[in-house]
Every structure is written in structure tokens, then in C-alpha cells.
């Protein structure tokens, strides 16, 4: 069902978000947004041999923010780090069958969250190598 301004796909992910939670021994964590601005997304990734084998999230925010997070985790799982870095906000929005104009920033957050999580992963890798 579609409700309000959202596509059926958005609603589906909003009502049944995939991959909610945390990864205990995450390879990288990305956090974007800030509750004061209405939304905050925290993304956990597990990377093995350069491939994202697991992803989980917690998000505080509107329907689009939750659905974007959920969709993002689905999209990056199984991808290489390089592939994941190429995911654009447009791709997330498109996978959700579109977002209302005022909600585009939610898909931008998703894009930023994966970039940050990968950055964190690479940083940790460097630290490990550096040791």
C-alpha cells in the first residue's frame, strides 16, 4: 500500500525495515545526521575480503529516513567496498521507487552513511596495518 506522499516500496521498508540492529564486531560504523535536525542514521558494516558481508542500522527519523536506511543495507550487502562507495543517493531513492522532493535529503544521508562507514573501516584498516 502507498500512503501519504510515499511509494509502496517506501512504506514496505518503513513498516518492515530490514537489518535493524547493530553488529557487535563491526568493521566500520558510520553515523550521520543529528536528532536535533530530525534524523540520525547509524550504519554498521562487516567487511570480509573487501566485500560487505553484513550491514545493520538504527535510524531515528521520518518514514523516508527509515526506508532509505533499510534499502541501503540491502543494497550494499554482497558488494565490494569500491562498489558500495559508488552508490549514489539517486540510486537509493530510485530503488525505493522515488521519494518526495522534500525527502531527498534522506537518501543523501544514506549515501553519506555508507561513505562514512567505509571511511571508518579504511581508517581502522590503516591503524591495524600501521600497528
Amino acid at each position: 500500500m502507498s500512503i501519504g506522499p510515499y511509494s509502496q516500496k517506501v512504506m514496505e521498508h518503513f513498516m518492515n525495515p530490514r537489518n535493524v540492529g547493530e553488529i557487535e564486531d563491526a568493521s566500520g560504523v558510520g553515523e550521520v545526521g543529528n536528532p536535533a535536525c530530525g534524523d540520525m542514521m547509524r550504519l554498521y558494516i562487516k567487511v570480509e575480503d573487501g566485500i560487505i558481508t553484513d550491514a545493520k542500522f538504527r535510524t531515528f527519523g521520518c518514514g523516508a529516513a527509515i526506508a532509505s536506511s533499510s534499502m541501503l543495507t540491502e543494497m550494499i550487502k554482497g558488494k565490494t567496498v569500491e562498489e558500495a562507495l559508488k552508490i549514489t543517493n539517486e540510486a537509493v531513492a530510485e530503488a525505493l521507487d522515488g521519494l518526495p522532493p522534500a525527502k531527498i535529503h534522506c537518501s543523501v544521508m544514506a549515501e553519506e552513511a555508507v561513505k562514512k562507514a567505509i571511511e571508518d573501516y579504511l581508517q581502522k584498516q590503516k591503524e591495524k596495518t600501521g600497528e
Binding site: F60, G61, C62, G63
Partner: protein, 405 residues
Amino acid sequence: MRKIFFDHISTTPVDERVLEAMLPYFREYYGNPSSHIHEQGQYALRAVDGAREKVAGLIGATPDEVIFTSGATESNNLAIKGVASAYAHRGKHIVVSEIEHFSVLNALMPLMNRGFEVTYVRVDETGLVDPDEVRRAIRDDTILVSVMHANAEIGTIEPVEEIGKLTRERGVLFHCDAAATGGKIPIDVNRMNVDLLTLSAHNMYGPKGVGALYVRDGVRVDPLLDGGFQEKGLRAGTENVPGIVGFGKAAEIAIDEMDADAERLRHLGKALWDGLARRVEHIHFTGHPEKRLPGHVSFWVEFAEGESLLIFLNLNGVMAASGSACSSNLKAKDEEELVASHVLKAIGVPSDICTGSITFSLGKWNTREEVDYVIDIMPGIVKRLWDISPAYADYIRQQSGGQKS
């Protein structure tokens, strides 16, 4: 699925009696009141004048003092801009509360570009304006004070009688935006000492597209819409006859039923408030606990974002608003500023744990059963959002002495 409309503050269903009163003016009596040499125009003219008497009766005014408009936004714009233009020679200072509706606050913008100064009076944490603050804000060049009768988002009813008394003493005009109260709680323009008062039909079981501005006899207002000679020259344009007739009927019904309805709604509102207080953790009610619109319960819940709550409520058949209807308008260009409304900011709600209040506003056809249903489903909905919230997870960890991951 049952459908529960708890969003009467954004608009109300049209009373069937109102619609019945309107229908003949779509069908048999379709005349233009200005073309009243003939019979059709004459029916229309009489209908408009009849409605004017009823609306005047609702607020203790004389019919001549009621100007029909297209709605509360136009009435507010006409009051603010019309008075500013007509009295600019006396002074260019206006005093408003900081929790006025956008149609007051934004109407001030073009005036400020033309040299007007505005003082925004603060409200306390219950949303109340302190009349003494208004008194202090008034200067020698103040021409107008505008304070709303009740705020739609948090339900607080302002001390307008006291404000009216002091503006009268100081010889300053007083405009009151009664869009949220008209037909719901008693209004008497003389007891309130208001000079201008905004009413909206669609907030009192009347049709959309009609409002009124009360303009006290002797008060001057420059028109916003120039053209024909309708509404004493204060509002040009062919009158929305069926709409005005509907507004009249809604006023008539309100005069009869308002008191009993308000009493019922006060009880239902209290039941809802108490039920939510008991069942929902981390809930914070907004607005004044007693001085509030009957049947109006507003609050925010820590770690639960407003829109998500609303969507889940709607999935459960419950329709509510996130503060003022505007705040949930996703079409707005600049969504950021809408997240925490200016009203919530004004009452000091911490923006880092609150995004958007929920407003349940009950209407005359809501029941106790509906209230109980909403109380029942709220905890589950809140829980669902907490479960995916990073901030709530952090909070729980903190509580149990844990660490942020």
C-alpha cells in the same frame, strides 16, 4: 479498519446540516449578490446578509462589523497589512506573540521590508503570553497588537481579555486570531476588547474557502483585494455565497451546541491525556494543562520522530497532526526549519530529543471508545520506533551503565 479522525485542528468535517443549508445556493439560488436588481441576485444578497448576522451573533458583533474573506489566512493578512497601511502615519511598530500562526508572522515580513518594526512577545513553557510583557512591548509608535486566541499546535488559550484591556488603555488596536477557537469556545468581541478578530469556517464544521474578519466599527483597514464594492469596499470579489451560507449555518449551530460539545470534549481530552500519561513512557505534554482547547491533547515522545509516529498511527486508522498542519507539509522547500516548529522552540522543547509534537484534536463526533483505542495502540507504536532508534539504544545502554558502541 476503523477510521478515527483526531485532526480537527487542521480542519473539520462539514456538518451535514451545514451542507444542507448550502446546497440550495449551488442549485436554485446561484445569483451574484452584486447583480441584485433581479431575483437571483436578491436571493444571494439576502443569504449573505443572513449569514453575516449569524456570524456576528457568534462573537457578539453587529453584522456591519463582519467582513467575509476566503479564510483565516486572508483575514489575518487583511488585519495585519490592512491596519499597518491605514495607520502607518501614526506609527510603524507592531507587537505579536512569537507563537502566532504563519499567516500572521509571515504577513509581517513585507511590512518589515517597508520599515515596520515588530516586537515578538515570548511565551512561557506552557505557551502562555504574559500580558505584562505585552504591556512592556507597547511603545508610543505601536499601532497594533496581535495575539491569537488559542494555538493550534499546543492548544494553549491566551489571556486575551487582559491583553484587550491593556491595549484599549494604551489606545493601541488589538487583533486576535481566533481561527482555532471560533465556534468552539465563547468569544465576545466586547468583553475581549478586540478591534479585529479572525474566524475560519472550516475549523468549526463549516466549509473550506470562507472566513471572516471582524472589524470594529470605526477601525480602518485598507483592503488587500481591490476591485468591486463588495463587503463595504474592504474585500472585493464576488462573494462565495454557498460558502458564506454554510459559515452562517455553522455559526448558528455553534451558538446552540458549543457549550455542550466543549464540555464533552473536555472530558474526552482529559481521558486521552490521562491514558497516555499512564501508558506511554517518556511522554511530554505540551501547552497549558488547563487553559487549553477542549479535546486538544498535544505531546512529544523522546526518541520518537513525529512523522514516523503519525504514519504508524495512520496505518492503525488514526489521523492526527504534527503540530500545525504546515509543519507536516512535505512540499515545503526548506524542510529543515519545519522539523521543530517555531511553537515548540518557543516553549523551550529541547530540539535534540524532540522532533515534532503530535496533536490529537478531537471533534464533536469522536467517542470515548475511540479515545480508548488510541490509548491502547500508542505504546506499541512508540516501542516500534524506539526499537530502531540509535538514540534510544544509546539511552538504554547508558541506563544499564553500558557504553555507546
